[in-house]
Amino acid sequence: MEFDKKSLLKLGKLARISISEDKLNNLSKDLNSILEFVDQLKEIKTDQVDPTSNSLNQKLEVRDDKVDNKNSTEDVLENAPEKEMDFFVVPKVIE
């Protein structure tokens, strides 16, 4: 799979990241080397293996429906660049 500039710009848009023209070439080179590695992995035959299966036959861990509100509002907001009245504050978003 080849990662062209158009796909890269689309990916940037989906992630709300602006990508300047001078970075396009290097970025697509980087991404393509990752994809090449994935292509290499794809050579392994996996059509007989279920996705997310594992050799230990582990099952999904479950928990009981018990409330434990251990993190405070301060903890959660601690790293927020902007906050007000206990809300996260972000640039205006209008759909």
Binding site: T52, K59, R63, D65, N71, D86
Partner: protein
């Protein structure tokens, strides 16, 4: 709905699981708490946090699937649905894509042409997002993550509905089933149950039209209004020779109009893939069987039973079973009493009081026991229907019991024949002139005699006995 046009509707219902804690974290799910007070580091998507699934939520999804007559999938997979938005801190929603926990099923609804089966495509578990407030500040959006990570069941219908009425009936029915099961409280005002509606129009015989999706409708009224508006909008476009764009639209509850939310060119590309933090969910047969055995009687079965056991009409039975609390209330009152009388008092007088006071039956000022006492007094002839209405009003005001009010007000109906006979004799003897006219053919005077006798008894005489006695005396 509109002459010469077909309407095709499919609905996605988002129903919040009635759990105390979230789907993948132990944060509480209470409605209306202070902003960001129910958020764990998992819900805020801090690095290194791992999701652990809530067993209760799995059970509720399977129970709901059974209630929707649907196939339970013994293996299902959680996927990441990737999109970038400020109220989604993970950058993806954990949802189920190709392998949902519940597969195909159906519900039956009542339409003007009788019963109709509406197909259910699937039910899957997913996380709710946080909440954005756009009106707090002119330049900024405020984000509250309390809802982030709460468990939702997304129930996807097949495009089997053909009118706004059918769409509303379908949502009503699904809501009712979930409430009977106790898997979702169905509170639409608080957003515990909301609907996305897909609408398209086409000419009969032609292929299906392009559909638009109207997001986040949280009342039956809005579902109906949005579909009517959207169908008319699409028909107008087509008739003008334009075409309908496939897009997501928002319903404005003030103006009753829909407007475009996202256009096709920036359509989302969700890049689903299995969540590497979560192994596939597997269910075993015995466990599913156990849940099947725990399913309570559901509205369709109760309706059937009410019709057989209490000879209710299909119409009355439908009204009573549409809400779990109402059918429980009705069943409390009807035990050992006249079903017809009880139906009239529950769906008539009680409902009108609840409507007037804008109350749900759970908060009824009249308990089922109190209404039963009132019905007893009607059944044994102590008070007339008319008097009973007065008593019921007084019961609402004072909270006193029916018998107590009847005694206090001296409302007790006179049913003693001898007593009434002397009243009737009294009336006839003091109106000899009118008795003569009646016997000469002036039938209309019958009502006059009854009226006089009732007046004399201060309204307490049993009207049936008064009628019978006057008829008997005048024919002598």
């Amino acid at each position: 709905m509109i002459e010469g046009w077909n309407l095709v509707i499919g609905i996605e219902i988002h129903a919040q699981v009635n759990s105390k804690s979230k789907l993948f974290s132990s944060s509480p799910t209470d409605f209306g708490s202070k902003p960001n007070s129910q958020v764990s580091l998992i819900d805020a998507a801090m690095p290194g946090m791992l999701p652990v699934i809530n067993k209760f939520c799995i059970e509720q999804a399977v129970k709901s699937g059974i209630g929707l007559n649907a196939k339970i999938n013994k293996k299902s997979i959680f996927d990441r649905k990737n999109y970038f938005y400020q109220d989604l801190p993970q950058g993806y929603q954990i949802s189920q894509y190709k392998d949902p926990i519940v597969g195909e099923g159906f519900v039956e609804i009542e339409t003007e042409n009788g019963q109709k089966k509406i197909g259910v495509e699937r039910l899957h578990l997913e996380q709710d997002a946080g909440k954005s407030l756009h009106d707090q500040d002119p330049n900024f959006t405020f984000v509250d993550l309390n809802r982030s990570g709460i468990a939702l069941m997304e129930i996807v219908s097949k495009p089997d509905m053909n009118s706004p009425e059918e769409a509303v009936e379908y949502v009503r029915k699904v809501r009712s089933i979930l409430r009977y099961l106790g898997t979702c409280d169905g509170n639409m005002e608080q957003g515990s149950l909301r609907a996305d509606v897909n609408v398209s129009v086409n000419k009969p015989g032609n292929e299906l039209g392009t559909r638009c999706e109207i997001k986040n409708l949280n009342s039956f009224k809005f579902i109906h209004a949005a579909i009517v508006y959207e169908a008319k909008r699409q028909i107008k476009l087509i008739e003008q020779g334009e075409s309908v764009n496939q897009e997501t639209r928002l319903f404005n509850t003030q103006s009753g109009e829909t407007r475009s939310m996202r256009s096709k060119e920036d359509a989302h590309d969700y890049r689903y893939f299995p969540d590497p933090d979560l192994l596939p969910l597997t269910l075993d047969d015995d466990w599913i069987k156990g849940l099947q055995d725990s399913i309570p009687e559901l509205p369709d079965q109760i309706k059937e039973r009410f019709i057989n056991e209490y000879s209710l009409s299909s119409y009355d039975a439908n009204i009573i079973v549409s809400d779990k609390a109402t059918s429980e209330y009705f069943e409390d009152v009807v035990k050992n009493r006249n079903p017809k009388l009880v139906t009239t008092w529950v769906t008539g007088e009680l409902f009108s009081i609840l409507n007037k006071k804008n109350l749900i039956i759970e908060d009824s000022p009249i308990t089922s026991k109190q209404l039963g006492e009132l019905v007893d007094n009607i059944e044994n002839g102590k008070i007339s229907n008319r008097q009973a209405k007065e008593v019921l009003e007084e019961m609402c005001e004072s909270g006193k019991g029916a018998s107590e009010i009847i005694d206090e007000k001296g409302l007790s109906q006179i049913s003693d024949e001898n007593e009434i006979e002397s009243l009737v004799d009294n009336v006839l003897n003091s109106n000899l002139e009118n008795v003569k006219k009646y016997k000469n053919g002036k039938d209309k005077l019958f009502g006059f005699f009854v009226g006089e006798a009732m007046k004399l008894s201060k309204g307490k005489a049993n009207p049936k006995i008064v009628n019978d006695l006057i008829k008997k005396k005048l024919s002598q």
